[in-house]
Symmetry: C3
Subunit: 375 residues, 3 copies
């Protein structure tokens, strides 16, 4: 396959390469608050850490899920006293708040090991009905810094859906922001059954003034075109002529991405909701895929109509059929790096450069600036 | 997790570390004689060896389960002649007794390879209805040296039960002799439903005069205690007051361990039986777990009553419910070493030191003598 | 086991050792044409390559199954235009014939990447109702060079059957040509139920004048024999006396092998068909096992009778029961090299030497000539 390796100079993305299991210095929405409340505790592998979440009264807690004594998961433990978890093996009892060892039950009340052992606790917050965890080693930023501001509005109504899927989170994130795959991959999804998907666009990648979002700005849209020696593409379908509306196209800001792994797709005007995705690394080959369908409505009736729309249409048709196509591509890429680029990959390369230059955390030698990366 | 690593000096256990897949220079009871007789042969992976056992007439045999010709397992072979096994592939025929090649059937009666090849045979003995195999390279000791003497008594009645379980045999053995886990882990088992399990004890580890057994000698028993800022533990349960008897407690010698991997738990007086466990390494992450429930009774009626008690009570309630809690802990420790110790771990560290100083086989620089290993 | 390692000098087989995943510079019959036609495409792992076959009109094509853009399998793609495959992810469109990129649909008709990328295409031919693929880096030889000439006859009637099985292809091939295993392993198969299988033979390995086939030439056949201190073997079975015919024995050329991995077993005269096997490497531990039962008959009636015989007798009794015994042996050898040889292994060693000296491709320092390899 060496004959296929692109000879064009591709920039070196040192921080991007190093982020195969994620960018730690961020807040991640790892679970629904309601699910944690219902079960009382949730154990998960996340960013190559074993984490256990606890809910008690109005508070949530996050600890590393491993007793420092004999290595048994604390998630197997029992709740002997308020605001503590006791390891099921020997009764080492940790503060949920700080992770400090406050008792070693089977060594009596005055065990000298008290205060000399602890388990790492992770900063944790609740916003938008989700539990946000800080996995970084550094001092956490305010959680609001990592949440799109509009999600914090009073009238926001968000439906979150979680799946654990195969693949590397970076390819998933790049897939979300990728300009051109929708025209080929999604043309067969039910979501665009009545809509025309264009053959190709010319797009420029810009960033918002605050440098938080990177977005696609379209210069031209080619619904169909004639390919030399091959023919017209995509083929006309009579039922698509009815509306004639094109999809995944639109004004600036429609499709945007931000660090660490957030995609936002504003839906066309009348639909009145916005689609978000988080691609949260579990390990090198798995990620936690969260879709968030958000609307802003105050009236009970409108909220009910959105509830109905979400469960009968958005969840099955968008999140499973449409997004399922993305998941199958990311899964099939496994751990192989792409070797050959073309013009529409500018969205991917600009995203990598954005990560390289702007991601929080150590490192950060800026990538070589190459606007036109492909032949 | 580095902040949790104990800064106390832990002794180096060179032989203990080297024994991750067992101590070879011992006899191990790897199967029930009745099961071997019924099936005629048993293939097993044991101590990283592939072994096959055969029974013929009154004798049992053990060979390495791999034909030296093309590597096919001899356990796939057929019994063409008495006291031999013929490899199913080309008919290389080995003496069950010595492992020597006595014929290569498909090369005719005078094959020159006869006498020039062999498969390793393992010393094997039958005692207590069990098949004992010597896996060492050295000259075997008398099998009685590795069997608790009381098991060889004429009136001993032993019920063996085998399971293959996940985890390293050393953690399983340490779990058996561990002083404190019972107070936390087993407090919820049916076995102690009517009994009080103490909160904590002070225990000293001693060895019998012949240095064969290491046992726990209790100095004090604290059934309940008051933990500062937390409260009383364990909580009172009204139905436990009835008997008021404490469990897993008792006079010296009640709980003892001996090399290579034998635990003995004498049951309180009226129960009139003794519980044994063998933790026999299969590989680094699996072990053969054998429980042996033994009584000493001559009368047929008493033997019948013990048979009834074993199958209706001891096997389900002790071996599955109670011991199942141990197995789940050992499994969850996987291959991670414990990093932080506390006072009751003295039983574990004394056991390691005992192994270090007294185990048969090469090596054996004695471990640094540290009586108080934990903060 | 070191005591079992043969002390006899075994030749070094450099090319044989290097061929653990096959000899690339050959044609391999990897699929039935009818199956490919029915499904339109077939994806497979073969010789550690991911390959996809396509059928269109009267032609077949083979490509490496990985888009050079983002690594997605082309077998997930769609057929947008004749004689092309379009990657499902971004519409990169490749010529089935040459593998050249002829369009990048989502970059418009004039994408500059056209002509600058390609996917490797493999030479492919159709003969005997099978699809033959050339996996080598060198210029392909005529496909007829790798097909036994008699298979190309007009009246040849061939039934192919494919299985993916565990084991290394070299052990499978050696098993096929191995002189002695049949006498032990196959004595219990239904295929020889009425026939006497001899105890041992004396065989010489010769090659045809054109050096294409290696075959076994028998000097003597010992149907039964007396083994000192053991007895007669094999035991007499009354129902075998009826015919008295011996099997897997016969005149020269009956059992022959040729590069890269083809076995031919001519059936005794009246049976009027010939059995072929191909052992085609998938990876180090798996191979594609193809049996080919061939007859040469012109009359429709005789062809019908052969069809009947194949599906009611040859396929279940020969290919599954009889050959299934071979497969179970090869599987059980796993990746362990044989360490100890005996006289009948001359067939195996001559085959290795033949491979060493005559296989196409780089390398080829001839092996040390040792005729008598075993004690």
């Amino acid at each position: 396959m060496t004959d296929n390796v692109s000879s064009i100079a591709q920039p070196r993305w040192a921080r991007y390469e190093a982020a195969a299991v994620g960018l730690p210095e961020y807040w991640y929405p790892v679970a629904k608050l309601a699910a944690l409340r219902r079960k009382g505790r949730l154990a998960m592998h996340f960013m190559n850490l074993d984490i256990v979440l606890f809910a008690e009264d109005d508070k949530v807690y996050a600890l590393i899920d491993k007793c420092p004594h004999r290595g048994v998961p604390l998630s197997m433990g029992s709740r002997e006293f308020p605001k503590t978890i006791s390891c099921e093996y020997h009764g080492w009892t940790f503060s949920l708040e700080s992770g400090a060892l406050v008792a070693a039950l089977t060594d009596g009340p005055n065990s000298p090991v008290i205060g000399k052992a602890s388990v790492r606790s992770l900063p944790v917050e609740v916003r938008c009905g989700l539990v946000w965890v800080w996995t970084g080693q550094g001092k956490p930023v305010p959680v609001e810094d990592d949440i799109p501001a509009e999600l914090l509005a009073d009238d926001a109504r968000a439906y979150a859906h979680y799946r654990i899927v195969e693949g590397n989170w970076r390819y998933a994130c790049e897939n979300g922001f990728d300009e051109s795959h929708g025209k080929m991959l999604h043309r067969t999804s039910w979501w665009v059954f009545f809509r025309n998907v264009s053959a190709w666009n010319v797009t420029e990648i810009k960033s918002t003034d605050d440098k938080v979002w990177l977005y696609r700005s379209q210069h031209s849209v080619h619904v169909r075109d004639d390919y030399p020696q091959l023919g017209n593409w995509p083929p006309k379908k009579w039922w698509k002529k009815l509306g004639g509306r094109t999809t995944v196209q639109g004004p600036d800001h429609m499709i945007a991405v931000r660090l660490p792994c957030v995609l936002r797709v504003k839906q066309p005007g009348s639909a009145d909701w916005t689609h978000y995705e988080w691609y949260m690394p579990i390990d090198r080959n798995k990620y936690l895929y969260m879709t968030l369908a958000v609307t802003w409505r105050k009236s009970l009736w409108k909220r009910f109509m959105y509830w109905l729309r979400y469960y009968t249409y958005i969840l099955p048709v968008h999140h499973y059929d449409f997004n399922g196509q993305d998941l199958s591509m990311v899964r099939s890429m496994s751990d192989d790096p792409p070797v050959r680029a073309f013009r529409p990959d500018v969205s991917i390369f600009e995203w990598r450069r954005h990560l390289e230059e702007n991601a929080r955390g150590p490192g950060g030698a800026p990538a070589e600036r190459i606007r036109t990366v492909a032949a």
